[in-house]
């Protein structure tokens, strides 16, 4: 029989355009302390630690090893790393807890985009034979997807502007967000995407703690139980994919149980306005679902942490009693190549 596992605590940095005065571990450490403080756990109490980050952001090999100083990795701990968004580190931690090998897990991820040209850096994750030699940047690839959506009549530029405006207005209530309030829609970066359709480039980190069964109840008044997680990937070549849809997101959602009952909240990792259109369709989200009350990735997009932030934000809403059943989505790669969906639930609240 499987065990019930919950997100019991979440913390994130203020996401900023640059944090050059801090090393990665210096940026990360306050977040690690905050998430531990929320549960009263010490690093030595943690059964498994898993992190997500990318060497290409840091421009250095094995950069994640330095961040390990922040978790007190001596004496040796049970630890793992994914060269992916921290949402995938959470997936690994969740499976570890499912096996019964650990009862608690610390998951963290961070990204400092400020040192390098992130649009160019991300080209290095593309097919190295046919695509990467052309250096198509991340905005260009998202723009191809946006144009395909417009051509098919799924959206238009005013509708995209409305997604941007709603996201940044919602981010007013999120003190960690980088872009808040009224943000000009701006000029075209790569047509049809304008600056307002694109995420801010910034640095940030996030951390969550997972716990199993009764341990979760001890650590959190209203744990956000993970009812299911799944992640799927699209074909590698962009020209093979149907860019106006996201079958991988839909399949992941189905396998995570998202369609069994309606959700009230969805935290979608859609760095570009057009990607929210794709995800809403793939996830069959109606207008009654609160989408990205945190402001989403359009308000703060720390690469490698923004997906984990979605899970954390969804869980925090359950912790606060603002949601009973939430969907969290994370993506990685160009044009929503890889997609992870988690379904989180709070236990029924008693009527006062």
């Amino acid at each position: 029989m499987t065990r019930d596992i919950a997100v019991v605590a979440f913390a994130q940095t203020d996401h900023r355009r640059t944090s050059e005065e801090l090393s990665e571990v210096e940026m990360l450490m306050p977040v690690l302390h905050e998430v531990l403080d929320r549960t009263g756990l010490k690093t030595s109490d943690i059964g498994f630690t898993c992190s997500g980050s990318s060497d290409y952001l840091a421009g250095r090999a094995f950069s994640f090893t330095l961040a390990l100083d922040g978790v007190g990795a001596w004496p040796p701990i049970s630890e793992s790393h994914v060269e992916m968004d921290g949402a995938w580190a959470l997936y690994e931690a969740w499976t570890k807890l499912l096996t019964g090998d650990a009862d608690t897990a610390l998951v963290y991820s961070y990204g400092k985009s400020s040192p390098g040209p992130v649009r160019d850096v991300l080209t290095r994750q593309l097919d190295p034979y046919y695509v990467a030699p052309l250096w198509p940047d991340s905005v260009a690839l998202a723009a191809l997807q946006a144009q395909a959506l417009i051509d098919e009549g799924y959206t238009d530029e005013p509708a995209l502007a409305a997604v941007a405006a709603r996201s940044r207005a919602d981010a007013q209530g999120n003190s960690h967000a980088q872009l808040r309030g009224s943000v000009p829609h701006g000029d075209y970066v790569v047509h049809p995407l304008r600056t307002g359709d694109c995420p801010p480039i910034g640095d940030g980190a996030a951390a969550v703690i997972l716990a199993a069964g009764d341990r979760a109840r001890e650590l959190c008044e209203r744990p956000a139980w993970i009812r299911g997680i799944d992640h799927r990937i699209e074909a590698h070549s962009l020209g093979v994919r149907e860019l106006t849809d996201s079958p991988s997101t839909r399949l992941a959602a189905e396998k995570a149980g998202a369609f069994e009952r309606p959700v009230d909240t969805a935290e979608l990792h859609a760095p570009f306005t057009s990607q929210e259109v794709v995800l809403r369709k793939a996830l069959r989200l109606g207008d009654d679902v609160r989408v990205n009350p945190s402001g989403g990735a359009l308000a703060a997009n720390p690469i490698m942490a923004a997906g984990l932030v979605r899970i954390g934000e969804a869980a925090a809403r359950i912790h606060r009693g603002e949601s009973d059943r939430a969907l969290a989505h994370a993506t990685s790669g160009p044009c929503l190549q890889q997609n992870l969906v988690a379904v989180l639930e709070g236990e029924p609240r008693h009527v006062q």
């Binding site: 801090l22 100083d69 978790v71 190295p128 940047d137 191809l144 790569v190 070549s237």
Partner: protein, 315 residues
């Protein structure tokens, strides 16, 4: 007092040499010869660019066909400000093009006067690069071409003289590296020929070089402590193979040196003593060269050897 955090340009540059499988080899050699090849997938679709494994079934596929150098734009994006290494240095459109005879689309650039001249469904053709080597960049770009869609793919054996079997994909990324607060303090001290660490507020250990965190306690460190200049060799090795671009005669000794007051050993070369006389417990001090920003090597101080008990915890 806050000091300015150091930063400096950091260029990461690498020429990735990649070998090609049979299908990629045929495709890229074909481009050199101005022939565009696709591969037939298990479901009969023609994939261009071709892949070696079926995206649906994962079966190995090798059934090559030739498609036309003309095609139809399936989606596009106008790029007003080309970035370094992109196919054109004047504003252009990124396009996915379904070549005539293909069922999937190829990503490339389209040379057009402006966004008003581009639309989904427009007809385009390949503009070949003048110099071709067997790479995706042998297609310089696409250009508008008013024509009807041409016929069907023709079988092709994928064989050419002098097949391309690999590509070299150069990459360069420019960063502005900043080592953060703790390492900035360390580097600034080195410039003054001093070595500083930071003390953990919890376990009181002094870490050098400091990274702003205690790896044992997982807490931030801030209290600066000057260590050395004297130190003790805790362990060492004798290097017998000369590294390229290193003008140090072999054999030489590389050691771990616990500077006085530090709870972590640094490493460095040990000189000023025959290699076979270096020993655990040897007392050493750093030797700085004129303008050097770190100790060139460590040399014996002439003091009596340190007792094993005094450094065994630092091994």
């Amino acid at each position: 007092m806050t000091t300015e955090v150091l930063k400096a340009p950091l260029v990461v540059e690498f020429p990735f040499t990649r070998s090609l499988g049979p299908v990629q080899s045929a495709f890229l050699t074909g481009l050199r010869e101005q022939v565009v090849l696709g591969v037939r997938a298990t479901d009969g679709r023609v994939l261009v660019p071709p892949v070696e494994y079926d995206p649906v079934t994962a079966d190995e596929i090798r059934d090559l066909v030739q498609v036309a150098p003309t095609g139809t734009v399936t989606t596009w994006a106008w790029n007003p400000a080309p970035r370094r290494d992109q196919p054109l240095d004047t504003p252009f459109a990124w396009v996915l093009v379904r070549l005539d005879g293909a069922d999937t689309a190829l990503l490339h650039a389209l040379d057009a006067p402006g966004p008003d001249a581009v639309h989904t469904g427009m007809r385009v053709r390949v503009r070949w690069a003048a110099q071709r080597s067997g790479a995706i960049t042998d297609i310089a770009c696409f250009e508008p071409y008013d024509s009807d869609a041409e016929a069907r793919p023709a079988d092709h054996d994928g064989q050419f003289d002098d097949m391309v079997t690999g590509i070299v994909a150069p990459a360069r990324l420019d960063y502005t590296y900043s080592p953060g607060r703790a390492q900035t303090a360390y580097i600034n001290a080195l410039a003054g020929q001093r070595i500083v660490g930071e003390r953990c507020p919890s376990c009181r250990k002094v870490y050098v070089p400091p990274r702003g965190a205690c790896p044992t306690c997982g807490v931030g460190t801030a209290e600066q402590v000057e260590v050395g200049p004297g130190g003790t060799v805790t362990t060492y090795c004798i290097v017998n193979i000369k590294a390229r671009n290193l003008d140090i005669e072999v054999p030489y000794v590389y050691g771990h040196i616990a500077l006085d007051g530090a709870d972590l050993a640094l490493h460095g070369r040990i000189g000023g003593i025959p290699y076979d006389q270096v020993r655990m417990g040897l007392r050493v001090e750093p030797v700085w060269t004129e303008g050097g920003c770190y100790p060139d090597h460590y040399r014996p101080t002439g003091e009596p050897d340190a007792d094993y008990e005094t450094f065994k915890e630092l091994l």
